[in-house]
């Protein structure tokens, strides 16, 4: 089987779509000559040239706004943020202009642009560089938000994003870029599960539709909802809990907007217990939203309250131990599952 890394999956998605459509270009800091700050765009300048792989200066407002304008004109920009933490200086462009253009212009000008980059804590980068932006941005109508957790999802969702007529925020993770590499912690799980894209590299039509959740692990006792990097914490937790006789079902929505609440609710109706994991802060978070929608749709099927597991409600600390402690980590999920199933 083909085992490509998460970063290679992102690259393959961009390369394939760029071969199919000349309107697609990649712009961002260090994407061209440097071959990508995280080596995602490695080799792409060589294949596509400086017209389509464009190094931008450190001007997020400028180049993300450029992406919106170029998309209004009819191009298909992929705008890379080295980190989503850096997108905040461009907020007016990405959340005021991009998602509202179609509506404000009465349907005349859309914004088929993709904004993508690393999201969430890296490794001891401190608070300003450790943003999880999903909760802040998922509340904005007009944009779509994908948060892939495996190389397969990374490739399939990004190809869908590039083809989509609406602005898409693709939230990747620095901590997952090497996922799929030999020696990676999750490698054994990776090769036995369906985490790899189709083996035929020329399969241009492999895409994953938005708004369709993936059951990362089937189970009957309790539902764990998680997206992005926390999916792996949830799977680790499920492995541990299996030893205690608790069979977890791990549901990965893959896109927060649109959200496939139906698959989540179907699972909750079966298990009657639910833990929602989300790597952003707890107050008014995507996890809160999912919990609310579960109550709205499956109140009578719940045998306990929904328990949320979030990033702790603090700026990210630099200290390594505290940083790991802050995350919605495996231990927190295990504790939550035990509590929600009355096994605490």
């Amino acid at each position: 089987m083909q085992t490509i890394q998460y970063r290679e999956a992102i690259r393959e998605a961009m390369e394939e779509e760029m071969r199919l459509d000349d309107r697609v270009f990649l712009m961002g800091e260090e994407v061209a000559q440097y071959n990508g700050a995280y080596k995602i765009s490695q080799g792409m300048l060589e294949e596509f040239g400086p017209r389509r792989i464009v190094d931008s200066p450190i001007s997020e407002t400028g180049f993300s706004g450029l992406g919106v304008g170029a998309a209004m004109y009819g191009l298909r920009p992929i705008i890379e943020f080295m980190s989503w933490s850096f997108c905040l200086v461009a907020a007016d462009q990405i959340i005021n202009n991009a998602p509202k253009m179609l509506y404000m212009s009465g349907g005349q000008f859309g914004c088929p642009a993709v904004f993508r980059g690393n999201n969430g804590a890296g490794g001891q980068l401190g608070s300003t560089h450790s943003w999880c932006v999903e909760s802040m941005f998922a509340s904005v109508p007009g944009l779509k938000l994908a948060i892939p957790s495996t190389p397969r999802d990374a490739k399939g969702l990004l190809k869908t994003a590039i083809r989509d007529e609406d602005p898409v925020f693709n939230l990747e993770s620095e901590r997952m870029l090497g996922l799929g590499a030999r020696g990676d912690k999750d490698f054994s799980r990776y090769i036995k599960d369906t985490w790899a894209p189709p083996t035929n590299k020329q399969d241009d039509d492999f895409t994953i539709p938005f708004g369709v959740a993936d059951i990362k692990k089937p189970g009957k006792d309790v539902t764990i909802v998680a997206a992005g990097r926390p999916v792996h914490f949830a799977l680790d937790a499920a492995e541990e809990l299996e030893k205690e006789g608790i069979d977890c079902e791990v549901i990965d929505p893959r896109t927060y907007r649109p959200l496939d609440i139906d698959t989540i609710v179907k699972s909750v109706r079966k298990t009657n217990y639910c833990v929602v994991v989300d790597q952003s802060w707890p107050f008014a978070s995507v996890g809160s939203e999912i919990a609310a929608q579960i109550y709205e749709n499956a109140m009578d099927d719940l045998d306990n309250k929904v328990i949320r597991v979030n990033n702790d409600d603090i700026p990210a600390p630099y200290n390594r131990t505290l940083e790991q402690e802050m995350l919605p980590n495996t231990k927190k999920i295990i504790d939550a599952v035990r509590a929600v199933t009355y096994n605490a």
Partner: protein, 369 residues
């Protein structure tokens, strides 16, 4: 560049390079904007128009002169004082007024309002309501025409308040490093809302320094003189048109971006709710003596390009068209509630890869069309 007075300027050779029909058309465009905006103010005072509403009276020569120097598919983009640009670009006054009335017949179906005039057919990429926010978008338009190897120039208008925004400076830098075909135009009416330019902008008496800082061409024109404005935009537009950059893998060609300082003046307040305590009536009256329409009228008559009767006819037509726009807007149906959830997404469900298996949320009204 010019330092000549309006009276001197309109008598220069500039006008003679243009056919009479074009001059008449430019005069009519200015008259139309003036009469249209008078009706806009009335309608606002009668509460037919809501929200913020920024009147273009006084500045007509800038939009008209600039647009007259472009070709039809040159993209233009501007800020929120945008009625004049929309009309100058060819938007039907009916659609412009209906938009302000919030009617379905408006240019943006009544979803945008006064500050968001969009007209795809006329390559008008909008009025934009956040100061300076449209500057990077204009750069994107210019990037796109260069990417597509088109022989266009983008015109990006903004007010003098935008000069102090970060977006302005990032846009200038990107346009300069990539030699983009774009004219950045400050419609310098001297005030960002109630703040005189010298109070808010460093080196306000030397805006050319901003261009120089980015290695960019700089030009000034009398924005209350439609012919000087036209000449400036024709000259600089031709230099910038079709510019390409070796940094983007193309052959380096063309003059790249230019910063044009159009010195103009608005007769009305910043918006309809502005008591204008920051300036004197004398100042306003003094500026009105240089009025773009009356100076153009005297130029046309003195040079026997039009008779007073013909001028009166033009004004009569402008008044009639503006009255008709009001009638059209009044008679148009309101934006129906069925339009509430349309245009949020163009592909609410993503590409149609799967059929008949859409999650329930996606079939609900609240997620798009």
């Amino acid at each position: 560049m010019t330092s000549a007075t309006t009276e001197d300027k309109v008598k220069t050779t500039a006008s003679h390079s243009l056919p009479k029909e074009k001059l008449v058309d430019m005069l009519y465009q200015m008259m139309l904007i003036r009469r249209f905006e008078e009706r806009t103010m009335q309608a606002y005072q009668q509460a037919h128009i809501g929200g913020f509403c920024h009147i273009y009276i006084g500045q007509e020569a800038t939009a008209v002169g600039a647009v007259a120097a472009l070709v039809d598919d040159d993209p233009i983009i501007t800020a929120y004082r945008d009625h004049g640009h929309a009309l100058a670009r060819g938007m039907h006054p009916n659609y412009c007024m209906a938009e302000m009335y919030g009617k379905i017949t408006g240019c943006a179906k009544g979803k945008g309002g006064s500050m968001h005039m969009f007209d795809k057919a006329h390559h008008m990429y909008g009025g934009h309501a956040i100061v300076g926010g449209q500057c990077p978008l204009g750069v994107g338009l210019a990037f796109a025409t260069q990417y597509e190897k088109k022989n266009n120039v983008t015109v990006c208008f903004f007010g003098d308040g935008a000069i102090n925004q970060g977006a302005f400076h990032e846009a200038f830098n990107l346009a300069a490093i990539w030699n983009l075909p774009i004219l950045f135009v400050v419609e310098n009416n001297g005030y960002s809302m109630g703040t005189a330019i010298s109070r808010g902008t460093a080196a306000a008496n030397d805006l050319g320094a901003k261009a120089k800082a980015y290695g960019m061409r700089y030009a000034e024109c009398d924005g209350m003189d439609v012919l000087d404005t036209y000449n400036t935009f024709k000259r600089e537009g031709d230099l910038s048109r079709g510019s390409t950059s070796s940094a983007l893998g193309l052959e380096q060609a063309g003059g790249g971006p230019c910063f044009i300082n159009c010195k103009t003046y608005r007769y009305q307040g910043h918006s309809m709710s502005d008591p204008q305590k920051y300036r004197s009536k004398d100042e306003v009256n003094e500026k009105k003596e240089k009025d773009c329409i009356s100076s153009m009228v005297s130029h046309m008559i003195e040079n026997k390009l039009a008779t007073q009767d013909q001028i009166d006819e033009l004004d009569k037509k402008a008044k009639q068209v503006s009255r008709d726009a009001i009638k059209y807007a009044e008679r148009s149906p309101d934006l129906p509630k069925s339009e509430m959830f349309t245009d949020v997404y163009s592909q609410p469900y993503g590409p149609p890869y799967i059929k008949g298996a859409l999650p329930k949320m996606l079939t609900d009204n609240n997620s798009g069309e």
